[in-house]
């Protein structure tokens, strides 16, 4: 094999949030103070876990029904979230696992540690997963999550959001992020969103109402493309001296 792989483009650390973001209080004690050590990619970083259709069920991407009793459906505004997983070269990322989790329509998570007073929906689990097709396309059907309060400032509310986890083809591409909804007035107030310094990065995390994908009399649609790190297409090996 090639002794030096074609690397992934380095992460733009100024586009991502920094580790220490004091207004998001939990980061204060959980952020490394030393600089990250920069590593050139090896086989350990350009490989990563791969998942296939035998790992999941086809209906795992339907959060309206994947935890509902027969004949029932989750309560809330019915939405489709769809888009493509691409890389920074604008190429589709096919056959990659996308996982999603969220609060229910009242803003309550089905988690033993969530004590918010909004009720659990007995027909809503709050997680889904799917594998992108050959064009990098994915979709979920779910309910629009509710906003909920959290302990940061005395009166802090998270805007409606869906957590997304994506693998790509390499451990170096691993990403977890959050999807927000166009027009939500809580977006500019959120200390977690404000960890991003560039308003274009916030816009990139904002799913857009997609009337063309909306199903009349049935389900509203939001479009959200996900971009993973791209990769060099050419490789010039720098030979070490004496090698």
């Amino acid at each position: 094999m090639k002794s030096s792989p074609a690397e992934y483009y380095q992460r733009d650390r100024e586009w991502h949030p920094p580790a220490l973001t004091p207004d998001y209080k939990t980061s204060v004690t959980r952020s490394p103070k030393f600089a990250l050590i920069s590593l050139e990619n090896t086989v350990s970083e350009i490989t990563g876990p791969r998942f296939g259709h035998s790992d999941i069920d086809a209906a795992d991407n339907d959060l309206l029904h994947n935890y509902a009793a027969d004949g029932h459906s989750a309560i809330g505004e019915r939405i489709i979230v769809h888009g493509r997983v691409l890389d920074e070269n604008a190429r589709p990322v096919p056959n990659t696992l996308v996982e999603a989790w969220q609060a229910n329509a009242g803003g309550r998570y089905r988690h033993k540690k969530d004590m918010y007073l909004a009720p659990i929906d007995p027909n809503f689990g709050g997680c889904g997963r799917t594998i992108t097709d050959a064009d990098g396309y994915y979709y979920f059907r779910t309910v629009k999550p509710g906003a909920y309060p959290w302990r940061n400032w005395v009166n802090s509310w998270r805007p409606a959001h869906i957590h997304l986890s994506v693998f790509g083809a390499a451990f170096a591409q691993r990403l977890i992020t959050q999807l927000y909804f166009e027009g939500d007035p809580l977006i500019p107030k959120c200390p977690i969103i404000k960890t991003l310094s560039d308003s274009r990065a916030v816009d990139q995390l904002t799913a857009k109402l997609d009337m063309n994908a909306t199903i009349p009399l049935d389900t509203i649609a939001y479009k959200f493309d996900i971009v993973l790190r791209g990769r060099r297409s050419t490789l010039f090996e720098n030979r070490l001296e004496g090698n």
Partner: protein, 203 residues
Amino acid sequence: MTDYLKETPSQTAGPFVHIGLAPGAAGFDIYAHELGGDIAGPNAAGERIRVEGLVIDATGSPVKDVLLETWQANAAGVYAHPESTGDVEDGFRGFGRVITNFDSGEWAFDTIKPGPVVGRSGSIQAPHINLWIVARGINVGLNTRIYFEDEAAANAVDPVLNVIEWENRRATLLAKRSERNGQIIYRFDICLQGDNETVFFDI
């Protein structure tokens, strides 16, 4: 002017990451198969080991809501991926998801000890397990590596450990070996911040 896209910016996995990635731990069974529960499978060659530890914050307290993902080669140094040369045993995935005991913060996973893997420019990397750490308060998942303290000769020439300028910090990446009831245990505590802060990588 280029037409590259920007990578989607990271956001914290939050306190309820288990709902999405390990719903059984969140308190409900929804999937027929959860992912990352069996790293090595039954057929993998190599020494069976358990790796355990704590993730510790700047106050010295365990981080109880953290989730770890592991990625490793088999005992022959092969990853379960087409860009790694060689075959892995049937059932060997090399990928694990590790959750904590929510009360104590202790975590553990069972696997086989990986072999050395090829490095850049023909070098050899000492046996290691790649780690990705997400939690509430972590804005971008943290990458680090678990090395094994008993691989002293291989560690001494490992090209990644040698990139770390401060030799005293390299020890933060060495898991400590012991034996308990006939089982091989490696202890690997991770300090997010503080005097003994673990080395994290920008990969």
